[in-house]
Symmetry: none
Subunit: 436 residues, 2 copies
Amino acid sequence: MVSVELITVGDELLIGQVVDTNSAWLGRELGHVGAQVDRIVSVHDAASDIREAVETALSRADAVIMTGGLGPTQDDITKKTLADLFSGGVMRRDQSVFEHVRRMTAERGLAFNDLNQAQALVPDGATVLPNRVGTAPGMMFVRPGSAPGREKLLFSLPGVPFEMKQLVTEQVIPLVKSHFALRSVVHRTMITFGLAESALALAIAPWEEALPEWLHLAYLPNARGIRLRLSAYDVEADSAAKEIESRFAGLREYIAPYMLGFEPASVEAAVASILLERGQTLAVAESCTGGSISARITAMAGASQYYLGGVTSYSNEAKAQVLGVSMPDIEQFGAVSEPVARQMAAGALTRFGADYAVSTTGVAGPGGGTPEKPVGTVWMAIAWRTSDNGTETFARQMRFSELREQNIERAATHALNMLRLHLLGLSDAFQQTGML
Amino acid sequence: MVSVELITVGDELLIGQVVDTNSAWLGRELGHVGAQVDRIVSVHDAASDIREAVETALSRADAVIMTGGLGPTQDDITKKTLADLFSGGVMRRDQSVFEHVRRMTAERGLAFNDLNQAQALVPDGATVLPNRVGTAPGMMFVRPGSAPGREKLLFSLPGVPFEMKQLVTEQVIPLVKSHFALRSVVHRTMITFGLAESALALAIAPWEEALPEWLHLAYLPNARGIRLRLSAYDVEADSAAKEIESRFAGLREYIAPYMLGFEPASVEAAVASILLERGQTLAVAESCTGGSISARITAMAGASQYYLGGVTSYSNEAKAQVLGVSMPDIEQFGAVSEPVARQMAAGALTRFGADYAVSTTGVAGPGGGTPEKPVGTVWMAIAWRTSDNGTETFARQMRFSELREQNIERAATHALNMLRLHLLGLSDAFQQTGML
């Protein structure tokens, strides 16, 4: 197995201002192509620390990936330190980076200043990995090996996650794959939603027990579902992939209504694909979720093909005026109530002329709770058109936690899942749905 | 300054299944008491890797804190490895741990099995740090030093975050403080938004150059701003804090319109505090940002005091029917255009009866771009009431990148910042505003 070490550079990591999420992402991505991360080291923006970490990592690993310390400002010294290590301190101006940075600054209406120009300087002998989405280029260095074909690779990448990810996906992984002979690791992950971890484990126990030795199952829970990952190491890729596929197909026997699909499946993507296939449209009406259902739908490319829009009716007046909810009902039952949830969904259906609408109204917290409606209480509804062009609605109440952020995320996910189950004709599954 | 190194143990960290949040927390907590984390190393659950990491760390640092690998199952080998290193492999049964684990398993209705009993075994000579909230005890090892009072400390703690935190707060920090003579570390971070990193660096160059030697400046960029952190090590805390405060006050001379406040400031929080103070209200009209402006506002507790709601008008019909945008204008100028942005903001202002409204309409990508309006083109507008109860609007166009997620986040942040600058009477700053 090809051994990779990661070096993350930045005082912000050591003083705890920033959590190092890059390393976990790199560990996953490299693992998917059969390279193994064997060590992660975080060091200060200090030349001696960087130098020592690079030399130690290169002495052990086949490849080293560094992130951070490539910005244009004085505190960033990774590039200079690598020039000292690999090219006797000699830097050259890379014309393509120069033009790219000039173009980016021009497009943004900025002066092309000395600091930007310095971003085009790279250590002599380094291979430039163009950064399409930022100004600091990635770089690759080759350390001669004990024998031909045993060269070691060192990559230096910006620490900004989206720039780093783009460079890794488009350039680093292909380079690593072509340089090393990678053996296979097969991972496949099924996303489930609607069953709590322990209930899920009980439901699929017979399936889990029948798995062959060489298939490893992991449960990975978060607020948007529980992921079930099957992994096979050092195997013949095609047949392992087929076996995993067939095992997951067999899982339908146990938990079909809760299976959203393979990663990166999500409730919103499942809803989207059903609507797209049927040529139907969606609108939303949000109170406690505050726009986050809409934001999750529109985060997906192509949302305009089925998503017409939404209303965040945060005030009572907005519920009445923009969505047509009855003000007397709000006064009688409260904004967090079944009739308000139903009328919000119906209002969005009509206002946007959609085929389906989903709504939420709840107490996200930390304030606003009462003994009857404590923080975490959420009413959610869906509305749809009947064959005679009337409107029908379905509503349910759920109770989440005391944490605002969690409540918003869970309410949004459950509301979308309610619609998904309705679209699939599985509304009965509401009854068995456990809480995450 | 007391130098600390962290070693986090666990395959799950290296394959990227778990993000190491323990280290950032430890960095902050140790920094607060004047100990500095100088390196973080993550290694596999493998005896040789753990041994090598421990010896290397002890050769450099004054103290080492390890987390992870103390569970009862066979994959956890940290305790055994430390016994080999520090006590020739000899373990003893600690009676207080034995009683504690027996009590905890009984309370949970579990059998007190062999694996639990093994948790009471500790390396001979280790000091037990009782774990009130879990079954695996923390441990402290002392490595003799070059001179009396120069002993080095090694702590081994469970990796479960809440158990680790409890042990650090109640036991590790007091032990470190009493063993070493700690001096103070002071960090303070100012959030800026609206100037690109290089432009910011140029704008504040005179201020940066005038900083005293003992104050360290770091630039920390992300899509929601650039953070400027000033750090002082080994100082008298009160006077250092005062000096940092006054330096940041002096920064106003250079970049006042771009300063959002001290961490955890954000553009949305800055807008919120101005509106709250003035008793004014806000509505939004989103197209390309798809609800994310609304979601960011409502993620903050208490948003209902100034936020009335918003419309995500994703389709042209929704723009016309729900917000009152002129359909002939949409047809003539396109949905991504100045008149549509202005009418969306004005429509939201009227529909929700708000004092201010902000709107976005753009090409988030990856599809939908044209030569005149490529992916990343966004029009944004703000609307407000004039003294004679009319409506006035201001609009501007920006160009972002090819990445949908980034385009949404940047458009939302810039739109909110446009409103912030208007509220502060600083609209001129638009002219100089660079992109992030």
